[in-house]
């Protein structure tokens, strides 16, 4: 009953507050601060964070449903939320000291400081060990130099988690995650990227030049970076899977509606078997994707290992999103290729779900590693 009510509440919010502007913010590549203002008191920026730090303490299925329903209306805003919550707040909550949580979390859960997770560099992405951003200890501080690219929420972030190595001779073992706040001298935001989809999210580069942070901004110990990254990405994948699922659901609903309205050969196109087959496949894949995702969420909440299931959910939900949005455009015909119809936006938004927070190829690596470890 709770999950149904969460879905209804978030859907009502998304349809009334985001629905009327979703098309325009994509066209104008504009981040909707006015909606953020309304989301703040409703705990959208602290979905799973502890109540003590201002969060809603949602279970993971409620969290997935929330991201799904926001993304069903605007995937770019869903992206902001999932990154902020699952790879911005979560690592601090999980690996931070009490002092770090008190310092960083309340402003994040209030939505005053939006989170970003900065791993990708020109020469590092899927290969987290290839990070070149360097943090050099100087007394009780670290001085960070480097460039991060394709940072989701980059243009709006208040608190970013920067992956940096502390020993260039031993990058794998010296990776650390540093909390860097936007007003830190030497931290600058680059130009907003001109991307195919998710255009309302200001994805950007971030530059760190002689950026000095106290050692108390390091999460865990130097060398914990890879572990923090892997654990964080497991959770992040649930969010991206939910986002992809929301996109698929939106495209599917539009396709069903359109197929009943659109007349060809004096019949609605939904009466043709080819279209029915498309709709049947879409419905089946969405259902399977949803169950895979909720299962991974349930595993996480019961304290079990869920890395492989999260990777499966992310792999399958993102593949479903690209297939379903592609078919939704196909069912809409020429109109689907026009910006007048939302399916065109869904189609552009879906592709990146197969790329970020671990490409589909990386998800298969994670799944295969698990399969090979379990079976003899």
């Amino acid at each position: 009953m709770k999950h149904k009510v969460v879905r209804k509440a978030v859907r009502m919010f998304a349809e009334t507050e985001l629905g009327p502007i979703a098309h325009d913010i994509d066209r104008d590549a504009r981040f909707p601060w006015e909606v953020v203002e309304k989301m703040r008191p409703l705990h959208f920026f602290g979905l799973q964070a502890p109540k003590a730090f201002g969060g809603a303490e949602m279970d993971s299925i409620s969290y997935a449903i929330t991201i799904e329903e926001i993304s069903r209306v605007s995937a770019a805003v869903g992206l902001c939320l999932t990154v902020h919550n699952s790879v911005g707040i979560y690592p601090i909550e999980r690996f931070g000291t009490e002092e770090q949580k008190r310092r960083f979390l309340p402003a994040m859960t209030r939505g005053e400081r939006i989170g970003a997770f900065c791993l990708t560099e020109a020469n590092a992405g899927s290969d987290a060990g290839g990070v070149e951003t360097l943090a050099v200890r100087d007394g009780k501080d670290f001085v960070i130099n480097g460039t991060k690219i394709f940072v989701t929420n980059g243009g709006i972030c208040g608190t970013s988690l920067i992956f940096a190595i502390t020993d260039p001779q031993n990058p794998q073992r010296s990776a650390g995650v540093f909390v860097v706040e936007r007003d830190t001298p030497g931290f600058t935001v680059g130009e907003i990227e001109d991307l195919c989809g998710m255009r309302a999210n200001p994805v950007s580069s971030l530059f760190l030049e002689e950026c000095r942070v106290p050692e108390t901004n390091l999460l865990g110990r130097p060398g914990d970076g890879l572990k923090i990254g892997l654990v964080t990405l497991d959770t992040g994948r649930l969010g991206i899977a939910a986002q992809a699922l929301g996109l698929a659901q939106a495209a599917f609903e539009d396709a069903v509606r359109y197929s009943k309205e659109r007349q060809q050969f004096r019949k609605p196109i939904s009466s043709f078997q080819t279209i029915q087959n498309y709709l049947a496949d879409m419905a089946t894949e969405i259902s399977a994707a949803r169950l895979l995702l909720y299962r991974a969420c349930a595993l996480k909440d019961s304290g079990k290992l869920f890395s492989a299931e999260a990777a499966m959910a992310k792999l399958f939900c993102s593949a479903t999103a690209t297939r379903v949005t592609n078919l939704a455009v196909q069912i809409h015909g020429g109109y689907g290729y026009s910006k007048e119809y939302d399916v065109e936006r869904y189609f552009r938004d879906a592709k990146v779900t197969e790329i970020y927070e671990g490409t589909s190829e990386v998800q298969r690596m994670v799944i295969a590693r698990d399969v090979l470890a379990q079976r003899t």
Binding site: M1, V5, A9, M12, G46, A56, S62
Partner: protein
């Protein structure tokens, strides 16, 4: 304060059976009736200004618990569910009777009862006024705005294009329109707490001490025999000829409707 809520089917998501012209209610998702949501919003704003406690009450199947949890998430202090198979099929009069007995039991000292002006599934607008009668308190319907001052409420409502200002002594009952009290969104943290920690008080016929002959379908004086949708007969008519001839045809065919719209008897004018 007591706020009466009803769970209604979410018609926008409900399949319509074109063969019988009825809603396939078995597939219905429930939602809080929009006017009830406005009544709850009114209660929340009164509490913000004046303090007090809000009890949300609903009568319905066990699933109706949903709207109480939602009300608690929005800020109600407690939820009371009246549910019992014997209550099924209650008409508006029996619904008011049952609600009144429950309110007398759980909130005998209430100051104000708030209801939505009508529900979007049956649209009778009868339960509010009947409930005021059952509770033997004054009641005002279709209220847009409420201001409480001590034991008096001042209300505004738009009635036949006149803005009425009314005053009533408490305790009393008000039914609220959807015009002014635009409901707030549900806070997600509140929703988690409403499900994970809040208790709902559940009352049935026995715990209310009601005679089962007096309630539900047995106690109801009115029976719904049949529900049909008004069939909208649509037809395309293409008028041809010169513009003058087309206008003449328009008046020939639709003089009663056009006359009605402008308040003239066009047949007479001819």
């Amino acid at each position: 304060m007591v706020v009466c809520l009803k769970q209604v089917p979410m018609v926008s998501e409900l399949p319509w059976d074109p063969a019988t012209g009825t809603l396939r209610r078995e597939l219905a998702e429930g939602m809080m009736n929009p006017a009830c949501r406005a009544a709850l919003e009114a209660a929340l704003r009164i509490r913000e200004a004046e303090g007090g406690e809000i009890t949300a009450i609903t009568m319905g199947p066990p699933m109706a618990e949903e709207v109480l949890r939602e009300a608690i998430a929005l800020g109600a202090d407690r939820g009371v569910l009246l549910t019992d198979r014997k209550m099924a099929g209650s008409d508006t009069s029996v619904t008011s009777f049952t609600l009144a007995r429950a309110i007398e039991k759980i909130c005998p000292q209430f100051d104000l009862v708030l209801c939505g002006f009508a529900t979007c599934d049956s649209e009778t607008a009868q339960v509010g006024p009947q409930l005021a009668e059952e509770l033997d308190v004054p009641g005002v319907g279709y209220v847009d705005e409420i201001a409480v001052s001590g034991q008096t409420v001042r209300m505004q409502r738009l009635s036949d294009n006149f803005l009425e200002t009314l005053e009533m002594d408490l305790p009393g009952l008000i039914t609220v329109t959807t015009g002014v009290y635009i409901p707030r969104h549900v806070p997600l943290g509140g929703l988690q707490a409403a499900f994970d920690t809040a208790d709902i008080v559940t009352l049935d016929t026995a715990s209310l001490g009601l005679d089962s002959e007096r309630i539900g379908v047995k106690g109801s004086a009115t029976k719904i025999l049949n529900v049909t949708s008004p069939a909208a007969g649509k037809k395309n008519i293409v008028l041809t000829g010169t513009p003058k001839r087309i206008v003449e045809q328009l008046f020939e065919r639709f003089d009663d409707k056009i006359g009605g719209a402008i308040g003239k008897d066009l047949k007479q004018d001819k």
